[in-house]
Symmetry: C2
Subunit: 437 residues, 2 copies
Amino acid sequence: MAEDYQKSKNQAIQEISKKIRLSFLIITLVIVTLFVVVLNHIYGSYSLSLAFLPDISVAMIVGIALFLSVVGLVFSIGISRQVLRIIHDYSSRLEKILNITRDLREEIYGDILLEKIMDYALAITSSQAGSILLLDGDSLVFKIAKGQKDQELIGTSLKKGTGICGWVADNAKPIRIIDAAQDKRFNPEVDSMTGYETKTILCVPLKTNSEVIGVLELLNREGGFPYRERDEEIIMYLAEQAAISIIKTKFYEDQKNYEIHLTEMLLEAIDFQIPEKRGHSRRVARYSNIIARGLNMSEAERKKLYLGSLLHDVGFLKINSDETFKKEEYTRHPVVGYEMIKPVNFYADIAPFILYHHERYDGYGYPAKLRGEDIPLEARIIAIAEAFDAMISHISYRIPVSFQEAVDELRQQAGAQFDQELVDIFVTNIEPQHIKV
Amino acid sequence: MAEDYQKSKNQAIQEISKKIRLSFLIITLVIVTLFVVVLNHIYGSYSLSLAFLPDISVAMIVGIALFLSVVGLVFSIGISRQVLRIIHDYSSRLEKILNITRDLREEIYGDILLEKIMDYALAITSSQAGSILLLDGDSLVFKIAKGQKDQELIGTSLKKGTGICGWVADNAKPIRIIDAAQDKRFNPEVDSMTGYETKTILCVPLKTNSEVIGVLELLNREGGFPYRERDEEIIMYLAEQAAISIIKTKFYEDQKNYEIHLTEMLLEAIDFQIPEKRGHSRRVARYSNIIARGLNMSEAERKKLYLGSLLHDVGFLKINSDETFKKEEYTRHPVVGYEMIKPVNFYADIAPFILYHHERYDGYGYPAKLRGEDIPLEARIIAIAEAFDAMISHISYRIPVSFQEAVDELRQQAGAQFDQELVDIFVTNIEPQHIKV
């Protein structure tokens, strides 16, 4: 694409250069004419005979010189102005693309990204309607449609290879059509579905590294004008940037999906492999969040705490299932969990919450016997949430106590096993209906 | 940044417009002069007295007209050429940035990305040396350095707030310095370390959405010239694109890291929770790969098969650990594993390998009783690899058989339990030393 731009610019420069050469010719002519006039005037007055001069009056010659001179100058100025227009037009388009590229790059949601691409394409080309179709197997699926009855199109699909869009996707080439009805590739079905009358079309492939992922179609440029080469050029550039962005947001969304499902798998593995702890991790996360809200933690901090709470017992997955409740094995789980989570870049922040969630405020916990504020805040929160759930739930071998008994026990341990302030916040905010078994 | 470009362009346009107005003035002067000459010539010859004309010879007037005319025309052409240079320069820079942006966008490896950013920045500004430093807590760490003794700098760090780079990172503003030694912010330590003499500096922040992630520093523009405003402008734009790309490649790398560690966690969970199967998944993946190579599968296909083999028993994580080897529970694991993996977009392709790895070629397997080629190739491969490992390893309750006995058993089941062709490939390529317990 950049080569295409280069070409257009070079064509413009060539045209201008041609005009500059023409101005040079005019200047030369003017100078020669004036020179002749002067020679004639000076030497003529001294009666020097210039045989080659035709017998016309000096007035006539000066008149011609005047005329040519003015024409030449006006012409030169015209060129300068034209060049200015070209700079303006050309660089505005590049700047527009740079700004659009930045905007598309920063968009992380696939749906919004497609909306933006469509809106930019419509605005740049002054089109009345348009759509974005993405390849899904052998079909081109309408992801965005703007125009009449656009909502009916979303989700419907065209078979690859049929219609203008199919041709563009198959050939990975752009197409401009002046009168759709006259083009044998045009498939009038969509129009008959939407009741829209397609006249002019500009359709370009969305491709990355030679792989076509879909097409961008623009319909009916305003005023009934056909799409120009420069419309195609700029939309091709937009389409290229758009295709990269579509791939990137897809990756981003897949990554979120991956993270959600893999965390879920780990939690389910804990639930199924250590049935004594079923549901414990999720409940601890819920209780931790009650304290986090009481502390007015930011959303980002609460999110980290929530994830740390969900994974606080992940270490059990690396302790042999038949030895989980042997004391020397059981007490290894914070360190084992920490070592599992620490090397995960996305989770490096939460690893200490896991490592220290069995520390006690009075320094008699494990594994590091940290004391008081030396224990990370989040680990102190998880300790309370975890102890509360252990008391009221059917986990491990103990018989659960009542809500009130659990609250009383926390109060009693405040300042010893637990952080006094955090216990206060928890018991103030926890209510019996928060407990779902 | 785009506004800055806009401004520079508008300034250029204003200058040109001014020159065009000046040419108009010259043209007007030339026309008036010539007009006077003509009037004088025509009416003068008819002895019409023009009182306002000074008493100079017609030759003189024509000479002046000639001179002004030529000056005016040459001047106009000069403007056209200057405008052409500006177009060329300005749009080349934008095009360069568009091409660079595309190149940076497509780079997925963080190290190569930084190298590219550095090389582009050096080339665009004709700088002799430069470096990229990224913020890590309170330090700016040298990630890339080009120039003398550059390798010694990599990995060393500057305290945030010290030196030129520190100033730029703190203030999130670019800086241009003509003589480093004269600037009180300049920290000569790096020079004394590298033996390099820094003279001119252009240092810009690497920032995204107002967050500074590092700085890009360029030293000693060639020829000893100071950096110009336009160098700063283009490097600021490059830095902006570079910063987005740095963040994106970091995310991409973190995602890979996440995928590796989370897959590892699942495998370890299987190993620890079902000790009877310890190491089984990794060995099956190795054996599957032997068949894949024998089939000349592409690297991408082999990668998918490898991952599918690693995760073929993931379903066991969602079967209660004390019921794993009860037949009705055991035979659920392909379906359970499939349902775990199917919703993971990155893994959707491999879900069928998991679902069908207990099908038999003769149609007597489970869960779907598929037959022959209806079973996906990868599932047929995993079936052989898994059976082989089950025979020769200490997994489950069986006593392992010898390498030769296992090979013979596979041969015997070829065409019945297993795909004949795949068994042939496996037994041809497997050797006793491939088996690590």
